[in-house]
Symmetry: C2
Subunit: 271 residues, 2 copies
C-alpha cells in the first residue's frame, strides 16, 4: 500500500499480491487479511504490525479490531492482539472434521496403544491433505505435521491413499504443477507417482518411506463414509528402524472397518 522508493518509509506490505488490493476494499476482505496476518506460529501481533502485514489503513484495522474484539475472534493483552477463543470454538463446530474426529478418536487411541507410534487422521482439502487429528507420545515435536496443518499429497502416505482411493480426477490436478522434493527420496516424477498409486490401489493401503522425513515411514488406509466414497485417511508413522509395516496394515484395516460402521451409525449419511 505504501509506495516503493522513499528509503525511510516502511517497506511495503508483506503481501503485495495483485488480488490483495482487490480483496481489501470489502469489509470481509479486510477482516480476512487481518485474521490471516497471524501465521501458524505467531502468538500475538501489535496493531502496527498488522497494518504492515495487511496493508490496510491503520484506522481501519483499529476499527475492525475493536469489532473483532467484541465478538471474541480477537483477544487483547496490553496492546497485543491474539486470536481469540471463539475462533477455536467455532472451528470445532465444522462438521467435516467434527464428525470424523469424534468417530475416529477412540480408535486412534487404540492404534496408539497397540503401536506406540504417531497416528494421523487426514482429509483432502484442495490439493493437499489437512490433518484433523494426531495422537502421539512424547518427544516428537519436530515432525512436520500438526493438527490443522497441511502437507502435499504426493509425499505423504495419507495423501497417496487419497490419490489412490479418492476422486479420480485428483491425480491429474496434482501432477499439473511440479511435485516438490521434500526429502531426497520424495517421488517427483509423475510416472513413478502413478505407479505407486496403482500399487496402493492393488494393495488396499499406501506406504511412504522417508519421502516426508528422513528416518520415518508411514502406512495409510482409506476410510469410507456411508455413501461408500472415501472421506479420509488414517495412518501410522514410525521410525524406519523399528517400523513393522505388516503389523500396521493389519491394525489399520481392522480399525478402518469399525470406523466406517461407526460413522454410518452416528451420521445420517453425509460427511
Amino acid at each position: 500500500m505504501h509506495s516503493p522508493s522513499s528509503p525511510d518509509v516502511k517497506p511495503l506490505a508483506i503481501v503485495p499480491s495483485p488480488e490483495h488490493d482487490a480483496a481489501a476494499n470489502s469489509v470481509l476482505g479486510k477482516v480476512r487479511l487481518i485474521l490471516e496476518a497471524f501465521g501458524p506460529d505467531d502468538e500475538s501481533l501489535g496493531l502496527s504490525e498488522i497494518v504492515r502485514r495487511t496493508g490496510v489503513a491503520k484506522a481501519s484495522v483499529h476499527r475492525l479490531a475493536q469489532e473483532l474484539l467484541q465478538w471474541g475472534l480477537l483477544e487483547r493483552r496490553g496492546s497485543e492482539y491474539w486470536l481469540g477463543m471463539r475462533l477455536f470454538e467455532i472451528g470445532q463446530r465444522v462438521p467435516r472434521q467434527r464428525i470424523l474426529r469424534e468417530a475416529a478418536r477412540p480408535f486412534m487411541e487404540d492404534l496408539y496403544q497397540a503401536t506406540g507410534e504417531t497416528i494421523h487422521l487426514a482429509v483432502l482439502d484442495g490439493l493437499e491433505v489437512i490433518y484433523l487429528e494426531k495422537v502421539s507420545g512424547h518427544g516428537q515435536v519436530s515432525r512436520p505435521s500438526r493438527v490443522a496443518g497441511r502437507m502435499p499429497l504426493h509425499c505423504t502416505a495419507t495423501g497417496k491413499a487419497l490419490l489412490a482411493f479418492g476422486p479420480a480426477a485428483l491425480f491429474g490436478d496434482v501432477v499439473a504443477t511440479p511435485l516438490a522434493r521434500v526429502t531426497p527420496r520424495t517421488v517427483t516424477a509423475p510416472k513413478l507417482l502413478a505407479q505407486e498409486i496403482q500399487q496402493a490401489r492393488k494393495a488396499g493401503y499406501a506406504v511412504e518411506r522417508e519421502q516426508t522425513r528422513v528416518g520415518y515411514l508411514s502406512v495409510a488406509i482409506p476410510l469410507t463414509g456411508a455413501t461408500g466414497t472415501m472421506v479420509a485417511a488414517l495412518s501410522v508413522t514410525a521410525p524406519t528402524f523399528r517400523a513393522d509395516v505388516n503389523k500396521y496394515v493389519g491394525l489399520l484395516s481392522m480399525v478402518s472397518r469399525r470406523i466406517t460402521k461407526s460413522i454410518m451409525a452416528a451420521d445420517g449419511g453425509r460427511t
Copy 2:
C-alpha cells in the same frame, strides 16, 4: 420455528433481542449472525433457514455467503451451506489452546493409558470452563462434555479447580447469579460451594461426585504457566463404582509438574 399469529408474513427473526438489531447493521455483525446461526449440532443450513434464524435480509445473506464461500469459512453442497474447513484451520491457530494442548497432549495420553478413563483439559473462558482437549475410549458418547464445549464452573471438577486456584475475584462473579442444578447432587448453595473450594485449595486438587452426571466423578488439578499463575485444569472422569480417587490424584499431580515444565520450556512465558 414459525411464530404464532399473522399466518402469511414470516415472523421476523428467531432472536428479536434488543442488541440483535444493533449488531445487524454492520457487515461484521451480519457475518457473526450468519456463522452463529449454525448451532453446535447443525450440520448444514439452507439459505432461507439462515435468513430465518438471523433476521438478515435474504439478498444480504446471499451476498455475504458468496464471500464467505470464497474465503472458505463456508462450504457448499447442493444448496446447503456448511461451516468450512478454513474455520477449523484458523481455530487451531488460537494460541491459548494450541500451546497448552500441544504441551499437555502426550501427558493426557499417558494418563489415559494409566487409568483407562476420560481425561479432560480445560481453561477458564468467561464464567465457564471450555474444554480444549478430551481423551477417552469407546462408548462414552453420552458424556455432556465435548471439545470446545462449555460447562459451568460450580459443578465440574475442572471448574472448581479454577475457582480454587485461579483469579480471586472469580468466585464472587460466579455466585452473583443463581447456580444451576445439573444433577440432584449439584451444589447450588454459595456457602457450600465456598467450603468445597476451600477444601480443594487445602488439598491441592478438586473433586466432583455426581454433580455433573449421575454415576460419575471427576478429579481435577490446576496447571500453572511460567508466570506461576494458573492457566488450565486437568481432570480424570470415571464411573463411581470403579473410580480410585487417590490413584488419580497421584497421577495428576505428577503429570502436572511435568506439564508446567514443558510449558515453560516451549513458551517464552505467556499463555
